[in-house]
């Protein structure tokens, strides 16, 4: 059996029958205490997907409740708790760890041709911090679900009788998880690059993770101290956000957004990295403007620290501060636009293949484009005064976070799925679901742009009947998306049992993770690979016998 497996893997690069990281050791303990980045990544993946499901259920319940302007399926208080939980779960438990900690963990060392990350034990500690943080956050549901919104603004968060302490303490621990992952990735990228991989030979996903990690390490502690001060203020009744003592609630907002705006780039930078990988592979064309994309990642990370004030245009900061933050907000659009330009230029005259990951790339370009451009509306001071706290804002950040990050996450998940599971999913269903998600998403959130610009405030439980049609379109759209996600879940789970064994390189990618078996062995590579140009797709050709791509030079040797 083992011999057969080895023989098969020599031909196709599939290692399901032989030794691989999934069957290298057995038993629950071998997973719970693993130091293997791939297993930690898979545990992260399962955990964040469970969170996504939970957050999604809250979203669907809210949307269902909003079908009618006055009749509801949940009480007003429950509604407040639901949008808080939806936001907090999606942000802290799903999107922030989503691409870096799950996909990044699985892929980063493989892309570097390394055996693991620099600090494998810290990596496992990061996962358990996530688990502990998740437990505390979710405990708050039992103790009295928080109703402040995911931003926990004072003074309401210090006076409401819901369990703000449990939720924020959970978020504090999640912060440690995020810092550990970021620190680990920076050191890994600095120290574990293989022979031949200078900084400008790194895959762009690695650049994305690098920019993300810088933000994780430098911004997260500020959230930590903010939440700690909030907890102290709630428990001791004294704190710097309390105006009665000479403090200032707006200071909370400054602190909170000093982390939480860069956190938006923790979400989007790795997503942009996924797009850079996939757009090139599925256009069968070298990435256009490599250095521009790489530097723009770092530029975005740097500027992201300077734009937090744009969340507070109507919070009473000075006009001068507002103008500066508005200017800096426009500035951050430039590196983002540079990336979009380069992705589109990569597709230009490429041999585009509309496989599932590529459908997500195209969704991303369209949705992120809208999300980014509407950010400019909100970055303009005067326009923001009209649009602030309306559904326009809700639609904008969903276009960026969902249309950007989640769509890219799905693209990356499908792209690397064959690599880390060793199985192909059903391509036809993949495409159907990608289209359903795209259509459902636009129905859900484009209608929110319209109603927001007409003045529908966010977070309202009851609303005027004139907005009902938009709410109904939005809710129907969310159901379509829900169906899309159910389909995705079904065919992905089915592929684990009945999927066609995946070759080493099903898409013809030139980055190093495609040069080991699917799934990879415990130590990733038999021999440390040497890195070349990560986008030299010309070096690979389709081989029908293998059912995947092979290196042209290797094939020549085999024939010879």
């Amino acid at each position: 059996m083992a011999d057969k497996g080895t023989a098969a893997s020599l031909v196709t690069g599939n290692a399901l029958a032989g030794d691989n990281y999934l069957n290298h050791t057995k038993g629950l303990r071998s997973w719970l205490f693993t130091l293997d980045h791939k297993r930690i990544g898979v545990m992260y993946l399962v955990s964040i997907l469970a969170s996504f499901l939970l957050g999604g259920i809250f979203a669907l319940l809210m949307r269902t409740s909003l079908l009618s302007p006055t009749k509801h399926i949940v009480s007003a208080d429950t509604y407040n708790q639901m949008f808080t939980l939806h936001g907090a779960i999606m942000i802290f438990l799903f999107i922030i760890p989503g691409i870096p900690a799950a996909l990044g963990n699985i892929v980063l060392p493989l892309m570097l041709g390394a055996k693991d990350v620099a600090f494998p034990r810290l990596n496992l500690a990061s996962y358990y911090c996530w688990v502990a943080g998740a437990i505390f956050s979710l405990l708050s549901i039992v103790l009295g679900a928080v109703d402040t919104g995911w931003t926990f603004y004072t003074p309401y968060s210090t006076t409401t009788n819901t369990s703000v302490v449990a939720m924020t303490f959970g978020a504090l621990i999640l912060g440690f998880s995020s810092i550990f992952t970021g620190l680990n990735f920076i050191v890994t990228i600095h120290k574990l690059r293989p022979k031949g991989m200078g900084w400008f030979r790194m895959p762009l996903f690695v650049w994305g993770l690098y920019g993300t990690a810088i933000i994780q390490v430098l911004a997260t502690p500020v959230l930590g101290i903010t939440l700690l001060l909030l907890i102290v203020e709630r428990t001791l009744g004294v704190g710097i956000f309390d105006p009665a003592l000479g403090g200032d609630p707006v200071l909370y907002q400054h602190f909170f957004w000093f982390y939480s705006h860069p956190a938006v780039y923790i979400m989007i930078l790795p997503a942009m990295g996924v797009i850079s990988e996939t757009v090139s592979v599925f256009s069968r064309k070298h990435i256009f403007g490599y250095k521009a994309i790489a530097f723009s990642s770092i530029a975005i990370a740097a500027i992201s620290f300077l734009v937090w004030g744009h969340h507070m245009f109507v919070s009473g900061q000075s006009n001068l501060a507002g103008m500066i933050f508005s200017f800096l907000t426009f500035l951050v659009a430039i590196p983002s636009a540079i990336k979009v330009f380069n992705w589109v230029a990569t597709m230009y005259k490429g041999a585009i293949r509309l496989d599932t990951p590529m459908l997500y790339v195209m969704s991303f370009l369209f949705l992120f484009g809208i999300g980014g451009l509407t950010g400019l509306f909100l970055g303009s001071l005067a326009v923001d005064v009209h649009l602030h706290d309306t559904y326009f804002v809700v639609a904008h950040f969903h276009y960026v976070m969902f249309g950007g990050t989640v769509i890219a996450f799905l693209g990356g998940l499908h792209y690397w799925w064959p690599k880390f599971t060793g199985r192909m999913y059903d391509e036809a269903w993949g495409r159907i679901a990608a289209v359903l998600v795209f259509v459902g998403f636009n129905a859900t959130f484009f209608s929110q742009f319209v109603m927001g610009s007409k003045g529908m405030p966010r977070r309202y439980y009851n609303y005027l009947p004139e907005y009902q049609i938009y709410h109904q379109i939005s809710t129907i759209g969310s159901f379509v998306m829900g169906i899309g996600f159910i389909i995705i879940a079904v065919y992905l789970i089915r592929s684990l049992i009945a999927g066609k064994p995946a070759p080493a390189n099903p898409w013809g990618g030139a980055t190093l993770e495609w040069q080991t078996t699917s799934p990879p062995p415990h130590d990733n590579f038999a021999l440390s690979p040497e890195a070349g140009d990560p986008y030299d797709l010309e070096a690979f050709r389709w081989d029908a016998a293998v059912g995947g791509y092979v290196k042209k030079s290797d094939a020549a040797v085999a024939v010879g």
């Binding site: 205490f33 050191v187 430098l218 004294v238 710097i240």
Partner: protein
């Protein structure tokens, strides 16, 4: 025991790798303290009178704490350079002195707190008092947390585990300790000298 039984992945990392990791950790902690100090300066900037009237002056014992911590930075550096030159007694004495001085610093800080509490200066009085306790308390917690690895490294030094070739633990501990020292000097200036 099968737990974490993966020799390649549990082997000590090269010193340069560990030092980079440590630098990032310190950068992260630096942001934590920077945020706290910014918060203090903000609260102070919007206050009409600072310190508020009737507040007792901060204890001169803070000078004592400062001297203790500065000396401990020197002793930990003494241990590092002894380790680099393979002078075993120097490693032991330098680390032991650092540990003792770390404890002495915490004792000194606690005395300073008691002096203030005795003068009815508790965290609940006003933000002047609150920020004082917050910043000194947060720093003291980091010193306390630092004493654990310093203690471990000291014990290992007495067991003779360190040599010029293998002493990365001493290097990491020293980096962290110098960081605590720098943070304290900043806090001392902000709270006491400029207070």
């Amino acid at each position: 025991m099968a737990i974490l039984d993966d020799p390649d992945r549990t082997a000590p990392v090269p010193l340069a790798t560990g030092r980079l990791g440590m630098r990032l950790l310190l950068a992260s902690l630096g942001m934590l303290f920077a945020a706290c100090v910014s918060g203090l300066l903000y609260v102070r900037s919007i206050a009409k009178v600072w310190p508020p009237e009737g507040m007792p002056s901060l204890p001169t014992g803070l000078w004592m704490s400062t001297v203790i911590l500065l000396v401990s930075s020197a002793t930990v550096q003494w241990a590092v350079s002894a380790a680099r030159h393979d002078e075993r007694p120097g490693i032991r004495h330098g680390l032991l002195a650092t540990f003792v001085l770390g404890v002495a610093f915490l004792v000194s800080q606690t005395v300073n707190w008691f002096v203030l509490v005795a003068a009815a200066f508790t965290p609940k009085v006003n933000l002047y008092a609150f920020t004082y306790y917050l910043l000194t308390g947060l720093h003291a917690l980091h010193v306390l947390g630092g004493l654990v690895p310093v203690g471990v490294v000291t014990a290992r030094a007495f067991r003779g585990d360190y040599s010029a070739a293998r002493h990365s633990g001493v290097e990491y501990v020293a980096m962290y300790w110098h960081f605590l020292d720098v943070v304290w000097v900043v806090l001392f200036i902000v709270l006491y000298l400029a207070g």
